[in-house]
Symmetry: C2
């Protein structure tokens, strides 16, 4: 029976279904589901850029908190949504640079949360470092697809960590004719480890350990990748071959003369990049580089609004800082693939209204 006092429609909140299952996916679940799939990540990334170009992406500001200026310990909360896929999610990523030294632990952690947009309920909670790694490299690979020479045969890496490895695998996917991979890093072990891990996947590629000589890694390479954790101007303009594509992955990694040499500077999102601490962001803040110096954003090239590479002589500079909607797109694809294969654990977060619990369990 409804009382006559108000005009609101009656909705029964009694006998409501409170059960809510969330799929929890570990890295190992994702790997078993076949989500360590380079082509799939590249496709998801390109699809996300197309959706962004069409205005079908929800891309609010991130919440970045630096806990301590000295350590630069930080946690970023990066929400994003995809209207077509009816999903809204978030990447929660911590960067604590002292972890390896202080605890023998990775400096980075990431988890992902996805909610579906019919009911608003969370559907998946996932390990996020693999997704994040594959996404970063996939953006680099999409850039290489449109901006590198099709006949690329030599690739050079400055830095040999996880990002360098992910980039190598993704770049091999779009430029399968690569025959030589040169790598220069801070230590013999890290170069050797890169080569050990990568030659498992591509035994026919010739890997060259540059023994810490960055010039050796960069020269004659049609694609150069810098992916270091420090902030140093390692890459020099005179080392760069005509027709090269340079993928700038980290913060400050190259001399200011490098972007100055470029025929085109392309970003994942210049409006985001300009406020960060990348090489070109610093130049922008120092008045050495202007909006007009940026050729465009990757989504403009993927969607055909702007030309990619126009000849074999251009030196193209690509800078990315990460786009959370690409993470959410890839995470959603991973979740769906895992679900199809019956992988992951389902946790019933709630079984009933909290007021239906046993009274003995309540402390008044």
């Amino acid at each position: 029976m409804r009382y006559g006092c108000t005009a609101l429609n009656e909705v029964s909140f009694l006998n409501m279904d409170y059960t809510r299952k969330i799929c929890v996916l570990t890295q190992e679940d994702l790997v078993r589901a076949g989500c360590f799939d380079v082509g799939f990540a590249i496709e998801a990334c390109e699809n996300a850029l197309m959706q962004y170009a069409d205005g079908r992406v929800i891309f609010p500001d991130k919440v970045a908190v630096v806990f301590d200026e000295v350590s630069q310990n930080r946690i970023n909360c990066l929400p994003a949504g995809l209207k077509e896929s009816m999903v809204y999610g978030m990447k929660w990523v911590s960067v604590f640079p002292g972890n390896p030294r202080n605890y023998g632990l990775p400096n980075l952690s990431a988890v992902l949360l996805l909610s579906e947009l019919n009911t608003g309920f969370p559907i998946a909670f996932m390990e996020g470092t693999m997704c994040s790694n594959l996404r970063t490299a996939a953006v680099g690979a999409v850039a290489a697809k449109y901006l590198s020479r099709e006949d690329t045969q030599v690739i050079g890496f400055i830095g040999a960590g996880e990002q360098a490895k992910s980039h190598f695998l993704s770049l091999m996917h779009v430029r399968p004719d690569i025959k030589v991979c040169k790598v220069a890093s801070r230590t013999e072990q890290t170069e050797a480890e890169f080569i050990r891990a990568m030659s498992r996947f591509y035994p026919s590629v010739e890997f060259i350990s540059c023994k810490g000589c960055y010039e050796e890694a960069a020269k004659n390479a049609q694609i150069i990748v810098t992916a270091i954790s420090g902030q140093e101007r390692l890459l020099q303009a005179q080392w760069i071959t005509e027709g090269a594509l340079y993928l700038h992955v980290g913060g400050l990694e190259d001399d200011y003369a490098v972007p100055r040499k470029a025929s085109k500077i392309v970003c994942d999102d210049w409006s985001v990049v300009k406020h960060r601490t990348q090489t070109i962001s610093r130049m922008y803040k120092e008045g050495l580089l202007f909006d007009r110096d940026i050729y465009g954003d990757l989504y403009e090239i993927v969607s055909g609004r702007k030309q990619g590479r126009e000849n074999d002589r251009e030196f193209i500079y690509f800078n990315s800082v990460g786009l959370s909607y690409v993470d959410v797109m890839l995470a959603n694809c991973m979740y769906r693939r895992a679900k199809e294969k019956g992988l992951g654990s389902y946790v019933n977060m709630q079984q009933s209204s909290m007021f239906d619990v046993d009274i003995c369990d309540v402390v008044l």
Copy 2:
């Protein structure tokens, strides 16, 4: 062996420990751990307000996304941190008003994520609706502790849903002499359900079903609570007794004459409230209420910077919109209690570097 090219210190990223366990806590885990504990929630809330007063809280802006202006479907991402507890977390809460009608599902869902600030790693992923409910009511109870008459005997509810129930339990904790509880709601069932559920906990309280008459619920009550999901000016100023405390929980629930009648208007955080759609927020935007009309924020009263109730005749108006750092404080207390009791499931989100996986599992 380290190469001489750079000045960076060497850190071995090899043989690093990648394992990361997260505690997953369902509502039932939390209930079994004794976290449905009204006094514990009130204490956590008061502690959080004290920490805020002392500048020990990290309180960034929330990310609020409304997906559709008509449905008002929304997901809010509310990050906050506690420096002393070395924890930073987030509440992820969805409000989809059409859920009950469209799917027979609750309009609200919430999950919580906590990270610890030594390594930055996530430590807990938790069901969040119980925490959120207890927190809202605990803030109301802290307000009642400082702002209601100590001899409160009669309490009146307009609205009989989960928020009304949580408020009743929390208010009984701080004002245990309450003898009469009147409740008015839209339907006979919801009033009866409120009384059925609450009399289990407090069989000696006299519960009065007001049969949809809001005036009956409000009159002679020393504490009046409005907690409705609609947006209607239900509470009228002439129904309010001298010396009452009014707890305004929802959006628009009272006539503009109600705040005008108040001796003191107190908020959880006026700087947040003023930008929302609560009764006093609307009056502020319409130029009918000014900053000077707000007596203060609850933390100022809890920390002793401002007086609470000063006599038995004041009518005090309390308005809250929710403070995410209180959620994070309560969630962290709940997580610790569950951990002590060995409850919750531990999920190893990652076992090794993604590049150490079996090569057969990788798709190139």
